[in-house]
Symmetry: C2
Subunit: 218 residues, 2 copies
């Protein structure tokens, strides 16, 4: 598959690029094309230095990438997400869009601040063309551990979405990252639950002196 990573120069984007590049073509996207190309080169060199197989990692603008891929990973901050998607809307058709976006605010602790649609995932669905298949996943994966290829990710990934085939594809992509276990979280309307886990985990980590918390259901 061809996977575009919006926000691909950030650390969670880096992790997905590195983990998926052995089986898929990765397009690292950024508003700043030079930054995207540099990040893609850095990731390729890192994988080459480790002797890892790599299908190809390229860098380009958001607009060019989106038109040309099967899967678009949205690893961007919630702030600015809607204007970004509205600008990019003409380039979407029937791609799978994976949202790991979490709307949250910090007061005395982190709080989940969902939009009126109920979750970032549902808001994304309301903005993009109806033919796009929005899936929510990966909100609670540590960016640091994902980008560290030596790190074993013994976590569960709850995946929500209304299109069963798209959800299956994302479950398979999850299986490709060692030790991650995909779990079906039901329809996209359940996304608020996995989005809201993120501020909860951050608060829990701060309060208990822990770091980079993920979740396992057992």
């Amino acid at each position: 598959m061809k996977i575009a990573i919006l926000g691909g120069t950030g650390s969670i984007g880096e992790g997905f690029a590195l983990r998926w590049a052995s089986k898929h073509d990765i397009v690292v996207c950024s508003r700043d094309v030079d930054k995207a190309i540099k990040a893609a080169d850095d990731y390729s060199n890192l994988l080459l230095s480790k002797g890892t197989l790599c299908c190809g990692i390229t860098g380009c603008t958001n607009e060019t990438a989106i038109q040309d891929v099967d899967v678009v990973v949205l690893s961007v901050p919630y702030k600015g997400m809607v204007p970004l998607l509205e600008k990019l809307k003409p380039f979407f058709k029937d791609q799978i869009v994976i949202s790991m976006v979490v709307p949250m605010a910090k007061n005395d602790k982190f709080e989940y601040t969902p939009p009126e649609q109920g979750s970032a995932a549902l808001e994304i669905k309301s903005v993009l063309p109806e033919t796009v298949k929005v899936i929510s996943a990966y909100h609670n994966i540590s960016a640091k551990k994902l980008a560290d290829l030596e790190s074993t990710l013994d976590y569960d990934v709850v995946i929500c979405g209304d299109d069963e085939d798209a959800k299956k594809t994302v479950m398979e992509l999850t299986h490709e990252i060692n030790n991650l276990r995909p779990l079906d979280g039901g329809g996209l309307e359940s996304s608020y639950m996995i989005e809201s886990l993120t501020p909860f985990l951050i608060n829990l980590a701060i309060k208990n002196g822990l770091r980079d918390l993920g979740v396992k259901f057992l």
Copy 2:
């Protein structure tokens, strides 16, 4: 300590009685005193047959038990909880009340249905005298595994409450149950997060063919 378990004849109540009886006096409570006495006898006999030390498990009515204990465990269904607490209010003074109550409804899936106070824990606080210390915990522990003394409970228990000493006591009680790890979840206003995890876990279990799910943060 002396611990009263409201709803102590149900399976989650049974588990706590069996697990805490080696260090604490347990009072199994029920509206039906005969049922409470029978359950207390059954639990005592089970522990005796296993050669486990037991401080004492007795059965009595809710009213008698509450006045005489340090800790009241609320393991009752949400439905009927408020009328029950209003009836029992005169017997509360400054006990620690542990709520594991989850308001939820089943439609096409299970859904969290918090009261206007924001969570069952905050509603309990609003009903009982101000001197009572409400703590929320244990919402996501499998009743079956808790009652099975051979079962290792390798789970995390997130504990919320506004009284730090009471929270510390409940964290210590949690430590006494082998392999459970207590985590500080912050103030009582954060209880909605751990309460809402319960229907989420039930849905996840149903959807993925799993059973008796608990949570571990790592």
